[in-house]
Symmetry: C2
Subunit: 381 residues, 2 copies
């Protein structure tokens, strides 16, 4: 199985929502209006109200935080999958097997957010009873930003983790073809006074979108981002983009890319292999045109009650966070950040501005969707 | 808190056991003899027989696999800690709190292997009852290779994970001082026919030992391994070694080093913060001379029964492994490996040779220990 071809990568739509690339005057969309629009889109392809809301909440949360690749950007792909029935918008997940601490769930090809919320809520319930809930789902679809599910556990005072496998896009160390996805993992933990640690990361070095930005700028790629068709590291953004073979976190073997490769495999084992879903090269490609088969992605949702261990976890987290943020910076103008700080600032920026600033081509996609689906177009602040 | 100084890093003894640096004729030590020697050393500093065996089993397993930094290399440090009572060789861990799926354990400053085995056995017992066992320990000491505990769960047909915090040595992204340790994590899963996936990795890009090897060779450091005193990436092996500030997996911010930093923090949250042990910059330095205070390290041990999810897990793992190993290699002379393959080869090499080949200066350290502790010196094959 070769790597994704250029046309395919481009069609995955990582290109259309980077606000850094916008030159047009800001046209802001209120968070509630973005949500309303997405709900209307989902309902137009026969998704029940509650499922449409769940999926829209997930997507708008990503845009709110500045994770544009995981927000409205993905709407068209979801809608196309729903329209051709490769996702079942009405499906309700089903428990196949359970113990006090675990559950094996069949997502029955439902929407990612519907499957994910169901599973994390189940994990939360188990964690509140026996301290840990560990829920694996097969038969799921793209579930958006992994951090969403960690936040769901954090909202209940728990530590949350989630992982998912995705379409092949990462070449194992020493290989010239993709055999794992970007396979993200998330972990979230509360500190006192509303402070948080929220890690949400792909196990590849970078996302395809970052390669595209370098290409548009005509700038070279740093070592360790992408491979050329022969499997060597490339600094040529055009070639890296057309090859579409991402390197694992760590880059080449010399800089320990095999660790990122190992982490990507770990995520697939805990999500895809353990749940009996597709895994590795079994996972289908996914494009804006919609897919011709069910994704059958695998995911895992873990909730842990920190009160089962040393008391005052959130107080210690506050101290832990301040030790990291308080480390002397190399450049005093660039403070040391904690996982989640950037997204927190993204939310504050949107709130201060009064809305989300989508790129022109994203707004064009939305206008097209409104026309095709015969729903009220997006309105601006 | 600044980074470790050169003398300190050197004294951590990462330098003394790399067989690649040996020029002397091979003097092999049988695995059983290496174990015998270590047990005798521990008993000489009043460690009870069972604890001495547990600790020796762990260390000799590391040497057997080729993880020399985590084997006999550490013996002197353990012995010194025991001799000055900064580790209690006789301590038996104690459960402070438990649920059907969790336990909070106080290691009572016992030997790392004693605490680790106790906790993983408890996690295994819980996993066999409710599907998952999640055990956090405070009051522990250096627990050797993280993979050891995953293997313990694998030996019972379970998926095993473990993480530990360690002495500060990694600079968070944008910081010029260390605030996290090398904080390793491990995950192991069985496949059919004795095949395994066994990830055991530090969350730093490389270990200090790799920097020292470049320095001895007079070779430059690749980007992303180490920082200079001002916090910038350095290619100067001498400077990188003397600064002693490792970079997280991923290297600089440009190549997503903040992900490795986030992983290191995740490990510390799940091991140090959650257990109520020391964490981040609270963790003491550790040298060959022994430490002047208890380490109070935090660790987590997780066992999961894959039979709680989709049946035939090991069959799917075999297929998963073969998809990764079977990916077309960039260089046909360098096959694509799976996490654990290198260590499996290490064991086979030692078995074929009939013993472990330690470096001369390691053997010298052993000879000194034998004299000081008045025990039978190491004998050779």
């Amino acid at each position: 199985m070769g790597c994704l071809r250029a046309s395919r990568v481009f069609s995955m739509g990582f290109s259309i929502t980077y606000r850094t690339m916008s030159a047009a005057a800001p046209k802001l969309v209120a968070v509630a209006e973005s949500r309303r629009f997405m709900i209307d889109c989902f309902k137009a392809v026969k998704v029940p109200q509650a499922h449409a809301e769940a999926q829209a909440d997930l997507l708008v949360a990503a845009d709110h935080r500045g994770h544009f690749s995981h927000g409205m950007n993905r709407l068209e792909m979801y809608i196309n999958d729903l329209a051709i029935n490769s996702t079942d918008g009405a499906a309700v997940p089903k428990i196949l097997k359970e113990t006090p601490a675990t559950a094996w769930v069949d997502g029955l090809n439902g929407l990612g957010a519907v499957v994910g919320n169901y599973c994390m809520d189940l994990a939360i319930k188990k964690a509140k009873t026996v301290g840990v809930g560990w829920v694996c789902a097969k038969g799921s679809n793209h579930y958006g930003m992994a951090g969403w599910y960690a936040i769901r556990a954090m909202d209940q005072g728990l530590v949350g983790m989630s992982m998912t496998n995705t379409s092949p896009l990462m070449a194992p160390t020493r290989a010239k073809e993709a055999a794992l996805g970007t396979n993200p993992l998330s972990l979230g933990a509360n500190a006192t006074n509303g402070d948080k640690f929220l890690l949400d990361m792909a196990t590849t070095a970078v996302a395809v979108g970052k390669i595209e930005i370098q290409r548009r700028k005509g700038a070279p790629l740093p070592d360790g981002w992408a491979q050329d068709p022969s499997g060597e590291v490339t600094n040529d953004a055009e070639l890296g983009f057309s090859t579409g073979c991402l390197m694992p976190l760590g880059g080449s073997e010399l800089t320990s890319g095999y660790k990122g490769y190992g982490l990507g495999a770990m995520v697939d084992i805990l999500s895809g292999v353990m749940s009996g879903a597709n895994y590795s090269t079994q996972v289908r490609k996914w494009t804006h045109a919609g897919a011709d088969s069910a994704a059958d992605l695998g995911q895992v949702f873990i909730a842990v009650d920190p009160n089962c261990f040393a008391p005052n976890f959130e107080e210690r987290m506050a101290d832990f966070n301040s030790r990291l943020r308080g480390a002397t910076p190399t450049d005093p103008s660039k403070p040391v950040l904690l996982a989640g700080d950037k997204e927190k600032k993204g939310m504050a920026d949107v709130d201060a501005a009064g809305g989300i600033q989508y790129l022109e081509n994203q707004l064009k996609t939305c206008a097209n969707l409104a026309e095709i689906l015969k729903i009220k177009p997006l309105s601006f602040v």
